[in-house]
Structure formats: structure tokens, C-alpha cells
Symmetry: C2
Subunit: 190 residues, 2 copies
Amino acid sequence: MQILKDRIQTQGKIMPGSILNVGAFLNQQVDVDLYNEIGKEFARRFSGAPVSRILTIEASGIGIACVTAQYFHVPVVFARKFRAKNLDINLYSAEVTSYTHGVDYTITVPKAYLHPEDSVLLIDDFLANGCALEGLIALTKTAGARLAGAGVVIEKGFQQGGQRIREAGIRLESLAVIRSMSPEKGIIFE
Amino acid sequence: MQILKDRIQTQGKIMPGSILNVGAFLNQQVDVDLYNEIGKEFARRFSGAPVSRILTIEASGIGIACVTAQYFHVPVVFARKFRAKNLDINLYSAEVTSYTHGVDYTITVPKAYLHPEDSVLLIDDFLANGCALEGLIALTKTAGARLAGAGVVIEKGFQQGGQRIREAGIRLESLAVIRSMSPEKGIIFE
């Protein structure tokens, strides 16, 4: 998606630890017109897939998922993150390890908001090690729902998440895949 | 806003501790068509006010703010919540006490995303004791920005936040104001 790649090139900041800060337009500060283009592109790519629900994770996935949902005409559900295990019997839960932040956490979604008859599209802003997305995949499977696929705005192609998820047979659409990034050579897309 | 009040009546659940659970359509599970109606209504109510930026707070304010921003054509910024004080000099911060959850926390927003020349519209899903909204007001003032007003989806009129904010001279628009709620008498709007 060229306009997205252009924004990443001009406004993305490479931080220590292979972190790409796109807070200026993609997450903490949001360019809603860009969100709309992202939503349209996800709708185009998944136009043949039945989608009855979009599942994302707090916090920065929520806005993208809500704007995207306008093009699918389906509800959005977001999973919450907890530092402790949450054993509420009314929740589906999955364990996630965050390599970026060096912590384990639990993600949950109320059972009332994810049904066995659902066909679920996962949406998130970033895919790196894939742990958050794999947590959402686990929640979907636990609910007995069908997985329509996963749509990610930025994939760090030099980390292992994308490969692992594709090898698991899951349809993954990333709108910008970064092959490499460094302060010296900048950001190179696949 | 009648369609909102109807949804609260039919799908809202009164929980112990004067908590109203509207997760089925307003926050954890999102009816995006309703979000669009909410966004249009905020745009109608604030049509005379100059708005250059929408400020909200993670997590459940983000989706409403992003969909609403489509009708204002301005960027959205969300404040992050931390349990500890965050002393980063690149952040504006404010202290918030949550009566609902019984904790104090710090909210922050990068200085790069809130400017003295901004006219800021605050958007959030709930107003009860008003502490989260007052935190956003404090962030706006610290940035030296103008406050265009605050738009809230549901105000608990029987708690003190709304009155305090209006008495401070801030324009506050609440789309549904609850006068009282109890398991016996249900939800009564103003």
C-alpha cells in the first residue's frame, strides 16, 4: 500500500531495539483519512472472505478496527490485556508473551461477544514476533469460531511472526512489510 | 439522542456499584453504525466550535473518537494510562483518581501531539465522577491549547462530574444523561 509506505518513510522513527515509532500518524496520533484508506484496502483484500466479526486488541488496534469495520458492516470486539491471569468463567482467555515489553500477560474477551458461528477477521497495527496475533488466534479457536484471516497494517518481515502465522495456514494480509530497518540505511520494504 | 437511549434501555446492564455495562454495543463490542450516529451528533452539536484536534483516553474512548473524527476532519490523539508516575520530559501528564476502580493513575500524551495553537475537543464514552475528563482538561491546559468542549456518550447525571465541569465554564455535551438507575426501577434519563 504505497501511501502507507510513504508515510512510514517520511514520519516513522527508528528507535533502539528495532522499534518503529509511527505514533505520529498510526496509533497515538491518528490520521483518520489514512485509517479510511487502510480500512478500504482491508475490505478489498478480504472481499471474498466471509467476515461476521472483527477482533482486535487494546489499545492501538481499536481505532483501526472500528474504521475498518465500516467497510465490512460487522461489529468490532477488542480483547483486553491483563498482567495477571484472569479466571472469570465468562471470558475466553489466552496467554501472550511480549518480547517488546518483556512481560507476559493475559488477553480476554467476554464469551458473549465471540460465537462458534462467527467468521472472524483479526486486525492489528503491528506484527513482529506475532505473539499478540497468536493470542487472538487462540481466543478465536477457543470460541470455536472460524478464522477468516488476519489483517495487519505494518509487518516487520525480519522478525518471525508473519512466517509462523502463514505456515500455520492462516491468511495474513500485511499492508506494508518491512524487510530491514536501521538508522544508517533507513527503512526498506519488501 | 433517542436511538442511543433506546439501546441503553434494551442492552445496558445495571451492575453492582452503580456501574452500567454497555459493553455489548458501546465499548468492548462495538456497533460501528451506532458510532457513526454518535459521531454525526457530536459534529452537529459542536458545528459552531473551531476544532483542530480530538483528544481521548485509552482504551474505550479510542474507537468513538476515531469514528467521530471523520466528521470533523481532524487528527485524534489518545492519552495513555500508567499506574506509576511517568516523568518523561517529552510528555504532558496529569494525575487521575478512578473511583470506579479505586486506583490513582497518570495519563500522558506526547508534547509533539498537542500544541498551544490547537482547539481541542475531548471525547469519551462515560462521564461519572469526571476524573478522567478532568485529566484530559488538565493535559489540554498544560499544553496551552484552547478547549473547544467535551463530548460524552453517557453521563451519569446522579454523580458529580458533569456539574463540576459545567460549573468550570466548559461546554459539555452528553448524548444520554442518566438521572437514576437501579435494578428495581431501571434506567431513567433526564
